[in-house]
């Protein structure tokens, strides 16, 4: 497509974006862009748009910035999966291992997963529990939005037309932390979540000092569970699973679809949540797949 660009720096990309007569399609790893295109092509709906390829911007680093980690826009699931990172990233890395297959992990970016804003995006719940922020750049400047404010709905984000998301910023939690991620699907590889749960506990003197929990694929945007998080404070980790109750899932609004019924999703979310909390209580906290 003429008008396609692959700039070599962020500044160049932002000025191309600002000056573009027609809003270009931002392209990172392409693992959401190309499948969407395949469907459009099959039904004669594909309307080519100029592409702005972000892969040359040199934003592929995971950096420790003292009080936070910075995950650049170019960081793939594979890079995150294989990086030596502190334990609060365990949940996110468990998610990384289960996104698609190794081929998709090698190309798809973590930030692209957020920008795509699918209700079933596996990156969102763990990053919500990490209280991550998304950094957005334009020629007007740079701003940061909490992830919860960045994703507005099913496939809707707060990204302005002249902006590029440049990084995910993950603040460092205090003290001992444990994190995990559980995903439920109907087969073992390459499966879109029926429901998934992420959790992070900060532990102080054997008690939960802070808890952050999020559930995905059960509402248009993954949801934190503030009431349960509050209820867990002060509890011993091994008590946590028993404290989770159906009313804590009030923020969810699951739907019936080809993968499961709404009722089942709500039920499964609670089962996963309890298992996740039980797992976090055990020293060898292990997340993983709950696939068939």
């Amino acid at each position: 497509m003429s008008g396609d660009r692959k700039p070599a720096s962020l500044a160049e990309a932002l000025s191309l974006l600002a000056g573009a007569p027609e809003a270009p399609l931002l392209l990172a790893g392409g693992t959401d862009v190309y499948p969407a295109r395949a469907v459009a092509e099959a039904w004669g709906r594909y309307a080519p748009r100029p592409v702005l390829d972000l892969s040359g911007l040199g934003l592929a680093g995971i950096e420790d910035r003292g009080d936070h980690h910075r995950i650049g826009a170019g960081v793939t699931w594979a890079a995150l999966r294989d990086a030596p990172l502190p334990p609060w990233f365990d949940g996110l890395r468990q998610a990384a291992r289960q996104v698609g297959g190794v081929q998709v992990q090698a190309r798809g970016t973590v930030l692209g997963n957020l920008c795509n804003a699918s209700p079933a995006a596996d990156g969102v719940p763990p990053l919500l529990t990490l209280e991550a922020e998304v950094e957005l750049a334009s020629r007007r400047g740079t701003r940061r939005l909490p992830l919860g404010a960045f994703i507005l709905g099913n496939r809707r984000t707060a990204l302005a037309p002249d902006e590029i998301a440049t990084a995910i910023l993950v603040p460092k939690p205090a003290g001992e932390t444990r994190s995990a991620f559980l995903k439920l699907g109907a087969r073992s590889y390459l499966v879109i979540s029926i429901a998934m749960v992420a959790g992070l506990l900060e532990i102080d003197s054997g008690r939960i000092a802070a808890a952050r929990l999020a559930i995905g694929a059960c509402s248009p945007v993954a949801q934190r569970l503030p009431e349960l998080e509050a209820a867990l404070i002060g509890a011993r980790p091994e008590e946590a699973a028993a404290l989770a109750a159906p009313e804590h899932l009030a923020p969810l609004s699951p739907i019936d679809d080809v993968r499961a019924t709404a009722e089942y999703r709500r039920h499964a979310a609670l089962v996963l949540l309890r298992r996740l909390l039980a797992g976090l209580a055990a020293p060898q906290a292990q997340g993983g797949s709950q696939a068939a």
Partner: protein, 905 residues
């Protein structure tokens, strides 16, 4: 302004590519560089067939823009042979039978390569993770895992190859082309000047439409040559597998009957065709209410005037008085079962090309011929359809089947063939088409969803007394193989058991759904779910072990079937069950002791049996094979299409053994309607039995002539030295070529109105065990082991038989646990789930050989039998584990959980 070319390094060779930067790497490799070894199954990252290495890491080439591949090292299957690990993998895949149809093989090999480079002797888990992103629909993955783990043994050595006697593991003779990526599938070969064809399909299940004047559209898109519609069909605008039912239009004439029905086709340069958006077409729709439920369709407006009440076909069988028998039974059981549309999901979408051929030296137009190269299971049926659609005699049509990247019944119906033929005929240019995955899924046939109500009874000792079965099969918008399904199901629905009184009926109902056609088992797998569930209930009621119950009722040689056919030979079910018995007890004991430990997972073991009539139901289905001896040596002309199941290899082994020469001495001329005889379609598990017997007879006929000419005795030894045939060490003088022709049509007797007759000349028998655990809180099912005992008559090639069993089981797992096609909703391999490598457990095959005297060296068939018992065995095991009865397939987690709750109530 012309953009600078991209510098691409593929397998070490530099290329300068001029193409758009966002062009998929698959398209660049295949279309620009001619490297067609990299396959395309979905263009969406879902199948992994396109896996290549980018800077050493596996990537789906269909998701990689050219601009991102430029400057990085790209490795493809074409470069494997030159890589020590690549070559080792290729040899291991061949030796282990890890490639069947071969369409997934390049992707599998490329996905495995980085693993072996990093860890030469990977464990099974690592091998699974490496290929978790590549789908295979044929092999059930187990042999692929074996091959990857064994690859280190093939670093130096060529695979030790067997001579290929009957019973030996001769590697596929067409295997090298599959592991090197050189086999030409439907999308892999077309002249570079071929025009491109893209069908326009209905997004509505039922609608009227008008297509206005397309001249402005053609004017707006230079390079767009033609919009083909119903009005352009030179002959009959209809196709269908029955000679008297040609109900499916090539292009609909103002009315569509399912989402995916074809209304027109764009033909022109590829760029021009792909630039057209359907909304630009002068198309107006009047959407009509759609009948999507077969019960409602019975009382609804007719889809086709010809079929009252929308009943396409009814099959029934009646033996004795089933109602009276049930009433008098000590124990009875009843149940209602429902299954879903199941998509064949062959990894190769429909594709091919056609050209009109002028006879050499010109000649009148009336001698023009049409040639179609396409992926198919049934070249001779394609030939009939193409001739009919063009309105020309059959001898003016040539069908050249491409390598077939999986069929499973779905490529028995024509797809691209008629429209390509029409386009090439009218435009007098070669024309090519490759369907996208969504298009393939929307338009192609499916397994019939069935609604079954069944009842069964037994006496106090657990002997079956009666069986009643009523099946409503949703046959979709067009006939396809619906009558075949309705015909086979009632004959086989009671399973391989002695049942004195039977009343079965199956009806194929027309709806505005995708046409249901042929899919591995022709409706029998659905029926087996009902039949086997009832046996479990009866066994439990009678207080009998579920295996012993089946054994007590199993058909034995000398028994009469419900059709009144006395089975004289090759009834190996008892042997299958007895072979399973020790595993049955061991696995049940293991499950019990694991359950004793408590926890949210419950373990269970299930069992199911099946029989399968080999070949068409009560109908002639001959095959003809030919072998010649001439100056070029011995040549086997084999018209049976190998769709991955291995018939090319199996038939060669049979022919070679009967002739008395090793397979390597025999040249092959493979399926081409100009060059080979009609072997019938590759379906109904018939090629080993029917074409195998024809091959054996052809070989024996040639051998007799050779012996006669050599004046040699029956057991003379043949051998080929420097291309000259020697008989008992003496060269055979040859003035003229010799030829042996074998034709076999399995003897059957048509069924009467009550299903009485001899529907099949022989049957395959099997019993399978499934061991699994169920998460009682989530309803997820984890398979642990499948043990499959199959009576195949005689094993011609154990690797191939196991390959069919593994692949059939994998499809049975899909049917049982995850596959549900919903038009418009699961129209891709992202939402429509088929088993991945992690979903197929260890499989143990026990091959029972109860010789079939009619079959070649005693062999029967295996293709379909492998699939039939798997789903019922899984459901039986779920019940054993949880007490829940599964009545709806697929048993998705939410359905399993609901069934568990129901059972507790």
């Amino acid at each position: 302004m012309s953009a600078p070319p991209f510098a691409l390094t593929v397998n070490g060779a530099p290329h300068a590519v001029v193409a758009p930067p966002d062009q998929r790497l698959t398209a660049v490799l295949r279309e620009e560089l001619g490297l067609t070894g990299t396959k395309v199954g979905c263009d969406a990252g879902d199948c992994g067939a396109c896996t290549v290495l980018l800077a050493g890491a596996p990537a789906c080439a269909c998701l990689v823009p050219l601009a991102q591949a430029a400057g990085q090292a790209v490795e493809t299957v074409e470069g494997l042979a030159a890589d020590p690990w690549g070559a080792a993998l290729q040899r291991a895949f061949l030796a282990h039978g890890a490639a069947q149809c071969g369409i997934c093989t390049p992707g599998m090999l490329m996905a495995a390569l980085p693993l072996l480079r990093a860890s030469p002797q990977p464990d099974e888990g690592a091998a699974m993770d490496a290929i978790g992103g590549v789908l295979c629909r044929c092999t059930g993955y187990r042999k692929i895992l074996e091959a990857i783990q064994a690859a280190h043994l093939f670093r130096e050595a060529e695979a030790p190859s067997s001579a290929g006697a009957v019973g030996e593991r001769l590697p596929r003779v067409d295997g090298p082309a599959r592991v090197t990526g050189t086999a030409l599938f439907g999308a892999d070969a077309a002249p570079s000047d071929a025009l491109w064809l893209k069908p326009i399909r209905s997004p509505h299940a039922h609608a009227r439409f008008t297509l206005g004047d397309c001249a402005p559209l053609l004017a707006r898109h230079p390079g767009l040559e033609r919009v083909l519609t119903a009005a352009d069909i030179p002959g009959r605008n209809g196709f269908g597998v029955y000679p008297d039912i040609k109900d499916q239009p090539v292009f609909c004439d103002g009315l569509v009957r399912y989402r995916g029905d074809c209304i027109a086709a764009l033909v022109g340069s590829r760029e021009a065709v792909e630039a057209v958006r359907f909304e630009e077409l002068p198309l107006t729709w009047e959407v009509l209410p759609a009948l999507t439920d077969p019960s409602a369709a019975l009382a609804g407006p007719l889809l086709h005037d010809r079929w009252a009440e929308n009943v396409l076909a009814t099959g029934r069988l009646r033996a004795g008085d089933a109602e009276a028998a049930l009433a008098a039974s000590a124990f009875t059981a009843a149940g209602e079962y429902e299954t879903s549309f199941v998509e064949h999901a062959y990894i190769e979408p429909e594709a091919g090309w056609a050209q009109m051929v002028r006879p050499e030296g010109g000649g009148p137009e009336a001698s023009d011929r049409i040639e179609v190269f396409a992926t198919t299971q049934a070249p001779y049926m394609d030939l009939d359809e193409v001739a009919g659609v063009l309105g020309i005699p059959q001898d003016r049509v040539r069908i050249i089947p491409s390598a077939c990247g999986g069929g499973f019944g779905g490529k028995l119906d024509v797809s691209v063939q008629p429209m390509l033929a029409v386009a090439a005929w009218l435009l007098r240019r070669p024309v090519r088409a490759v369907w996208s995955r969504p298009e393939s899924m929307a338009s192609s046939t499916k397994r019939h969803p069935a609604r079954i109500a069944a009842r069964a009874g037994c006496d106090a000792e657990g002997r079956l007394t009666g069986f009643a079965f009523e099946g409503l099969y949703d046959t979709g918008a067009y006939a396809s193989w619906g009558p075949t399904v309705a015909g086979r199901v009632p004959v086989q629905a009671m399973g391989p058991y002695r049942v004195p009184a039977v009343a079965t009926r199956a009806r194929a109902i027309l709806t505005h759904q995708p046409p249901s056609g042929a899919f591995r088992g022709f409706g029998v797998p659905q029926a087996a779910i009902a039949q086997e569930a009832l046996w479990d209930r009866l066994a439990d009621a009678a207080g009998l072990d579920r295996l012993e119950f089946r054994l007590r009722n199993a058909l034995r040689a000398g028994d009469a079937t419900a059709s009144g056919q006395v089975l004289t030979h090759s009834v190996g079910l008892v042997a299958c069950l007895e072979a399973l018995r020790p595993r049955w007890h061991a696995l049940r004991d293991a499950a019990a002791s694991r359950n004793a430990g408590g926890g949210s997972r419950r373990h269970g073991v299930g069992i199911a049996c099946m029989w399968y009539g080999i070949g068409n139901t009560g109908m002639s289905n001959p095959s003809t094979m030919r072998v010649t001896l001439g100056p070029e040596g011995v040549t086997f002309h084999n018209g049976a299409v190998d769709i991955g199941q291995g018939s090319t290899t199996i038939l060669l082994q049979i022919l070679a053994e009967a002739l008395g020469l090793p397979p390597r001495d025999i040249h092959l001329v493979l399926y081409d309607t100009d060059l080979t005889f009609d072997a019938g379609k590759t379906s109904a598990s018939r090629q080993t039995f029917v074409s195998g017997r024809a091959a054996q007879d052809a070989a024996l006929a040639l051998r007799r002539q050779i012996l006669l000419r050599a004046n040699a005795g029956e057991d003379a030894k043949l051998d080929l030295r420097d291309g000259i045939l020697h008989v008992d060490g003496r060269p055979l003088p040859l003035e003229a070529p010799l030829e042996g022709i074998g034709r076999f049509d399995p003897p059957t007797v048509p069924l009467d109105a009550d299903g009485q007759g001899v529907p099949y000349a022989t049957y395959g028998f099997a019993a399978q065990l499934a061991a699994l655990s169920v998460d009682m809180e989530l309803g997820t099912v984890h398979l642990e082991r499948i043990v499959a005992a199959h009576d195949v008559g005689r094993t011609i090639n154990p690797t191939m038989v196991e390959g069919q069993i593994h692949g059939g089981i994998a499809q049975g797992i899909g049917l049982a646990l995850m596959e549900e096609y919903l038009p418009g909703r699961t129209e891709n391999l992202h939402d429509y789930l088929i088993p991945t490598v992690g979903d197929v457990p260890a499989i143990e095959c026990l091959l029972i050989e109860d010789r079939e005297p009619l079959g070649p060296f005693g062999a029967k068939g295996i293709g379909e039998p492998a699939l039939v018992p798997t789903a019922p065995a899984i459901f039986s095991a779920i019940n054993h584990a949880t007490g829940a009865w599964i009545t709806r397939a697929p048993a998705l987690p939410h359905r399993v959980l609901a069934a568990i709750r129901e059972a507790r109530r």
